[in-house]
Amino acid sequence: MSQYPYRRATRRDILKAAGALAAGCGTATVLMVPAADATPAAMQAAIRKVIGEAPVRQGKVTLDIPPLVENGNTVACSVSVESPMTPNDYVKAIHIFNEKNPQPNVISMHLGPRAGRARVSTRIRLADTQSVVAIAELSDGSFWSATTNVVITLGACLEDN
């Protein structure tokens, strides 16, 4: 036995660990409250802060996120925008926002006519089931958006360590 200083996890251990984890997440929910989570209103405010007062229209943007995600710590997310990407007509920036993380901003990416194709992807964190918004800023000053709902089974639990 001395060769194996650790013992195999028994069913009891696993149940205990699961209980502790659940309790931990429970505490997290309680502790999260004073952190003032982003709300749809906070997201709108954040969007206005980034893009100003310009009207945002639906369309042109495709936001690809799996509709059902098991682990909110890493969610693959890609955004593409219909644009010819010529020096006169191109996508200047792509912003991503969320509703229910502690902060509404996710990422802002700045492209140019040299990008050739307005398609970017990254991996994001999502704390809860919510909708994610991608907004594209075109060179003519117009803004286009797409919204996707994502169901998260296990959120980016704020207290896990």
Binding site: R114, A115, R123, L158
Partner: protein
């Protein structure tokens, strides 16, 4: 130690649209978590990413805590001339990392 992984095609035809994939190892500590004793863990994230192609800025990004650990970003550019791509990440606590990749355009 910081490790950056860059994926740029080594060769491309002039005018071809190429995909660039980047990944940097970083914890991206959100600043919203607490230790077991309840002490807040301070924020430690990468806040900005810049890519230049032969000295000209072609892509920049501002990152927030909602970006997953080990930030992974992909984007495209038109291969115009042979040269180098320079990548730079900067972040909290004076974090800074660079990487580069060469491309031959025919």
């Amino acid at each position: 130690m910081t490790r950056a992984l860059i994926n740029v095609p080594p060769k491309a035809k002039r005018g071809e649209i190429i995909a660039i994939r980047t990944l940097i190892s970083h914890v991206m500590e959100s600043g919203f978590r607490h230790t077991n004793t309840g002490a807040p863990i301070p924020r430690d994230i990468v806040t900005s990413f810049v890519c230049t192609y032969n000295g000209e800025e072609i892509f920049t990004a501002e990152l927030h805590p909602a970006i997953a650990a080990n930030p992974f970003i992909t984007f495209h550019t038109v291969a115009t001339e042979s040269g180098t791509f320079e990548f730079k990440w900067t972040g909290d606590n004076g974090f800074s990392a660079t990487a580069s990749a060469a491309i031959t355009v025919e």
